[in-house]
């Protein structure tokens, strides 16, 4: 076997057939003087010779005609064959000699990165992105094995399936391997010479984090984010993230998790100085100039030096790419979108789709959508697709003038009757239940959690459906939540009656009438956090610790402080009741408060900053309700029979009482069914721990990027890490890319935006239009909170600007003067809580987190859905 190992400088972009796509690219950069770490290439010919040597051609015969299950088995056999066969002596000697030359000039022992570099990577439209393996921290002892592992990754399930769809013969594809010095970087990152989210060519975007680049490239960390203007490289935007994890520069154990926690002092520290950030952007621009198209550049910094690890064309993923490959017409399901501001992970998507897959609704790339096709068949309107999409989106529900289509009416009424017959018993069962009837759900969760035989599917069935005929309704929290949707009909009816009978009454009359329900668990949770803050105030030492340390670190310090034990006991009691809650609580990957109470401690600290008392607030609301009640009675007196029997007043009171009842039921049922998500997460984490111990998974959190059938197969041994590793990485990256985008309102259909919005924005650029959610007008300083687990300090009277809110955000509403939220509807959490607290709120204001910066003064007009940016002075980007 006569194969020559090539230095990186010996290959160029024309040598793809020899050095593979990655090798040729790196060689080209070395030739052009880019600071690429030294290395060599084991050419594709070596792979070809080795495959012939072990007789792989015979094994591949008939591979194209195999059944799916046989594919898994066959791939496993081929990979084992490649990995177990020894390399011919001549070849292994050549590789080890090249390696010895690579490390000879180094004082310390260096580790290498061993990277697959496929020769088919640029065959027409075949990209093979991320389907082949890369190994880090490789020393001389593992080098030959890792080269073989790279070759065997040609036969991962992904790569084989992909070649099959591209009609490429498995026997014709070979792989070169790049062996490079692994830069033990203090900081690393990725730079895009065009904005990969918007496609804007005038922006250069850099993302950086501590340690090795794998943490960013594999999507395991939220990096710092820098945006430069191309012209003059002026820093346009900077967001410093909390970097919780890193892949450290040195790692001794090969099987240990590569992820380590970032020291607390570095988590919120900026990773790049302004000069460093500019240097990175300059090198990225040079790479773009050389290759002639926008580049995605991986880089690292070590010992004050800059290294370019890879440069490849950007796969720009604008909004149009979100919908790529999605067939059909869909409209976003607004009432649910606040639970899905980020797309759900694949595992959560599977779990949700088990109980959320009627023909009307579905998840598209992790977001909830309504299918226009089915809605069109059902709704009795004579309307175009665009009109119907507009109606479903909810922008013009009240103004709509769609014509009734009489022929469809019987079908519609028939479906309504069917719906009533299906849900009627549920509605009857939940009509008048005592407060606390769902407390038993906690026992159900405890029992199911203790049952080792109950797998994820069984748990989903128990928690989110009517799985046993004689199950008490208290065990069906999710079904109760569906029934409580009646709240919105009662509210709507109440609004119409009040407007008809008592003209010019205050804008928030119906919201005020329906507020103040007893026994709302999310409100009690808010009070619980307030009580914890009062407990802290009793102990000056505890207070000092809470104020001095970041929430992530404060718990460890408090445990060592004798004076804080009383507070910790109260915290324990609070978490016993509310520990299942989290931010983004529908997402199984979200860490629950019981696992990490840092968000609770952050909220306690937030309450220490304010003087207002929630009890006083409740008293004031009760006074307002009494005044409103008296006003309604006074205004109704002019109607016949009202003085004697008060029929209208009684009707208004009855409907308000019912709306209040169902509103409480809606909040409380959510409190309980989220407990189901939390228990499910616990179960999944146990499965993950087993898979990590068996080496079938490598990092915590990976399991959420698998599908349920894949987890089954990993448990039963039908899949291994080599089959799923690449998938996990790809899905993580896809998830991160999608999380940075706003889901399109519609897919496959468009509708006209409200013209006035565009006109106003064009005229003075200061008025933003959203949807009214809670009436009132308020002017104050905006405070942008993107992630409440990082930043929770909202000063009294500030205007909360947020991408979404859920019950875990509720305590912030006590401090805020008004709220502006990127997603949601009148019925969404932000609107409901804002009405409860009597503060103005505007929802569905897209991009408000980008358009309104912390520190600017804004006027929120809740009844019109407007936000005016009054002054930009003193504003700063969050």
């Amino acid at each position: 076997m006569n194969v020559r190992i090539l230095g990186l400088g010996e290959v160029g972009r024309e040598d793809r057939a020899v050095a593979g796509g990655k090798g040729a690219n790196l060689g080209e950069m070395v030739r052009q003087g880019f600071p690429v770490p030294p290395g060599f290439v084991v050419p594709a010919a070596a792979c070809q010779a080795f495959f012939q040597h072990i007789g792989l051609g015979r094994e591949l015969e008939g591979h194209n005609d195999l059944a799916p299950d046989d594919h898994e088995r066959r791939c496993h056999v081929i990979r084992s064959l490649i990995e177990k066969a020894p390399l011919p002596a001549e070849l292994s000697e050549a590789i080890m000699t090249a390696h010895a030359e690579l490390i000879q000039n180094c004082d310390t022992e260096i580790r290498c990165a061993v990277r697959s570099s496929g020769t088919a990577e640029d065959l027409g439209e075949a990209s093979f992105a991320g389907q082949h393996e890369t190994y880090y921290y490789v020393g001389a002892d593992r080098l030959l094995d890792m080269v073989k592992h790279c070759w065997s990754s040609l036969f991962s399930l992904e790569a084989v399936s992909y070649r099959a769809t591209q009609r490429l013969d498995h026997g014709d594809v070979f792989m070169a391997v790049v062996v490079q010095e692994m830069i033990q970087s203090e900081v690393s990152g990725v730079t895009f010479t065009a904005n990969p989210v918007t496609g804007d060519r005038e922006e250069i975007v850099t993302e950086s984090s501590w340690g090795m680049g794998a943490a960013i490239v594999d999507g395991r960390v939220t990096p710092d984010h820098y945006v430069f203007e191309r012209e003059g490289l002026r820093l346009k935007e900077k967001r410093i993230a909390e970097k919780k994890f890193m892949v450290p520069p040195r790692l001794s154990q090969t099987t240990a998790s590569r992820l380590q926690e970032v020291p607390h002092s570095l988590r919120l520290k900026e990773t790049l100085s302004p000069d460093q950030a500019r240097t990175v952007a300059e090198w990225a621009q040079k790479a773009e100039n050389h290759f002639g198209c926008p580049q995605d550049v991986e880089w690292a910094m070590a010992g004050g030096r800059f290294y370019l690890l890879q440069s490849r064309p950007i796969t720009i993923m604008g909004r149009q790419n979100i919908t790529e490959g999605v067939e059909g017409q869909y409209v976003i399901f607004k009432p649910l979108i606040e639970n899905f501001t980020d797309p759900v992970t694949p595992l959560t998507g599977d779990v949700v789709s088990l109980f959320f897959s009627p023909p009307l609704g579905c998840l598209v790339r992790g977001w909830p959508y309504l299918s226009l096709k089915y809605c069109k068949a059902v709704l009795p309107y004579q309307a175009t697709d665009e009109e119907l999409a507009s109606l479903l989106y909810g922008m013009d529900v009240l103004k709509t003038n769609l014509k009734l289509f009489w022929l469809k009416l019987p079908l519609f009424l028939g479906l309504l009757l069917g719906g009533y017959l299906f849900f009627g018993v549920l509605l009857a069962r939940t009509r008048r239940m005592p407060v606390g009837f769902m407390d038993r759900f906690r026992d159900l969760v405890r029992r199911t959690d203790a049952d080792d035989k109950a797998g994820p599917f069984e748990m989903v069935k128990r928690f989110f459906s009517w799985s046993r005929y004689f199950d008490p309704i208290g065990n069906q929290a999710f079904m109760v939540n569906l029934g409580a949707v009646r709240y919105m009909f009662r509210m709507s009816l109440l609004r119409q009656l009040i407007r008809r009978w008592t003209l010019d009454l205050r804008e928030d009359a119906e919201a005020l009438l329906c507020s103040g329900a007893e026994g709302v668990l999310s409100a009690e949770m808010g009070r619980g956090i307030w009580d914890l803050a009062q407990e802290v105030k009793k102990s000056p030492k505890t207070r000092r610790i809470l104020e001095a340390y970041q929430p992530e670190k404060v718990l460890a310090v408090l445990k060592d402080e004798p004076e804080a034990q009383e507070f910790l006991a109260h915290l324990g009691l609070f978490l016993e009741i509310n520990g299942h809650r989290a931010f983004k609580e529908w997402e199984l990957a979200s860490i629950r408060w019981a696992e990490n109470p840092a968000p609770v401690l952050g909220m306690v600290r937030n309450y220490l900053l304010i003087d207002s008392d929630p009890v006083e607030h409740e008293r004031s609301m009760a006074r307002s309700r009494r005044d409103l009640d008296a006003e309604i009675r006074r205004r109704l007196e002019k109607y016949p029979l009202e003085k004697a029997f008060r029929p209208r007043y009684r009707l208004i009171c009855y409907i308000a009482e019912r709306a209040k009842y169902f509103s409480r039921q809606r909040e409380n049922s959510r409190f309980y069914y989220i407990m189901g998500f939390s228990a499910l997460r616990k179960k999944i984490l146990r499965v993950e721990a087993e898979l990590l111990a068996a080496g079938k998974l490598k990092c915590r959190g990976d399991i959420f990027f698998l599908h349920l059938p894949e987890i089954d197969r990993l448990q039963s041994g039908r899949l291994e890490w080599s089959d799923v590793g690449v998938r996990i990485r790809e899905r993580r990256l896809d998830h991160i890319r999608l999380s940075k985008m706003f889901p399109p309102k519609t897919i496959g259909v468009t509708f006209a935006e409200k013209q006035e919005d565009v006109e106003d924005q064009e005229r003075d650029g200061k008025v933003l239009h959203g949807q009214p959610a809670s009436p009132g007008e308020y002017e104050g300083v905006a405070h942008l909170i993107l992630d409440p687990s990082i930043s929770l300090e909202l000063k009294p009277g500030e205007v909360l600007v947020a991408p979404y809110t859920d019950p875990a955000w509720t305590p912030l509403f006590l401090t805020a003067g008004a709220a502006v939220v990127e997603v949601g509807s009148y019925l969404s959490h932000a609107g409901t809580v804002a009405r409860e607290f009597g503060m103005p709120c505007v929802v569905d204001l897209q991009n408000c987190t980008k358009l309104i910066h912390s520190g600017v003064i804004v006027r929120v007009q809740g009844d019109r859905g407007l936000v005016r940016i009054i002054s930009r002075q003193g504003g700063q980007k969050a």
Binding site: E72, S357, Y420, V425, S467, L708
Partner: protein, 104 residues
């Protein structure tokens, strides 16, 4: 005209049966809190059970349509329950199918 009345009474039977079944479920739903909740439970069952009984007695020639309506709902109710359970199994199979298809 009779047939229209019969259809209407049949529908009434359907709807009333929903309430009767809902009321009977209160026995299960409120059992754990029986000491406090028995008045609500008794009132609900007596109200809907009583109304159904009175209508059965009073409807004369339309009695059978009413009873057929009630019986039809009972059948539908059980069918819905098992259908709903099947939906879960179907969704699980769909996940499995999607996985297999994505790997071929």
């Amino acid at each position: 005209m009779t047939i229209i009345w019969e259809i209407l009474v049949f529908m009434l039977g359907l709807c009333l049966s929903v309430q009767v079944v809902g009321a009977l479920f209160s026995l299960i739903d409120l059992w754990s809190d029986l000491r406090r909740s028995w008045p609500v439970m008794a009132r609900t069952i007596l109200l809907w059970g009583g109304l159904a009984s009175i209508l059965t007695l009073m409807l004369g020639p339309y009695r059978s349509a009413f009873l057929w309506g009630m019986a039809a709902f009972m059948f539908l109710h059980i069918a819905f329950f098992y259908g709903y359970k099947r939906l879960f199994i179907r969704n699980r199979r769909l996940l499995e199918k999607e996985f297999r298809e994505s790997n071929t």
